[in-house]
Amino acid sequence: TQTVSQSDAHVTVFEGDSVELRCNYSYGGSIYLSWYIQHHGRGLQFLLKYYSGNPVVQGVNGFEAEFSKSDSSFHLRKASVHWSDSAVYFCAVSANTGKLTFGDGTVLTVKP
């Protein structure tokens, strides 16, 4: 069974700040890790994913995430946030099927 933990329910930063949203997972085998974003009242949109190779993956809108096998983590980062980055961010894992297991999400609020 795969599980995903997003330890921060809410993160608040100011525009131009850097931000890191944390994701930890538990699963014994090979997995895909991904991040999705949900703006208020909308469906989820794909940001980025990792399976193998370079542990730092680049996504849309300046987001990147780093995989760490030793920490069982896949944290999402952005160097300089914009007010439009305010949204809920979901980390997800999938094993050898197409089924995704989602974390509970982190609400990112970017203040002007």
Binding site: G41, L44, F90, T97, G98, K99, G105
Partner: protein, 115 residues
């Protein structure tokens, strides 16, 4: 590009009522999914379908039925709505029938309120 359409956008029902939610995709994707999202929580998989007329139960299938009438459409039925139930139901699709790592594309959701 493609789009996923969910109808209705808002659904208000009565306790015990059978309610049907519909989803259409024009990506020509093989696999479609129904998720339930409760406030402040992640998504939980209700049903998924890897091809027309296929159905696979997710973690939350009790109390729901689903139907994949054709490749482009996937319906979800709440068999007996629970009083004061409030949730968002999200439909998604992905390209391949099986295999990990496929990006899922989501619809805007149907917001359910049971009085």
């Amino acid at each position: 590009g493609g789009i996923i359409t969910q109808t209705p956008k808002f659904l208000i029902g009565q306790e015990g009522q059978k309610l049907t939610l519909k989803c259409q995709q024009n990506f020509n994707h093989d696999t479609m999914y129904w998720y339930r999202q409760d406030s402040g929580k992640g998504l939980r998989l209700i049903y998924y379908s890897i091809t027309e007329n296929d159905l696979q139960k997710g973690d939350l299938s009790e109390g729901y039925d689903a139907s994949r009438e054709k490749k482009s459409s996937f319906s979800l039925t709440v068999t007996s709505a629970q009083k004061n139930e409030m949730a968002v139901f999200l439909c998604a699709s992905s390209a391949r029938g099986q295999g990990a790592g496929d990006t899922q594309y989501f619809g805007p959701g149907t917001r359910l309120l049971v009085l």
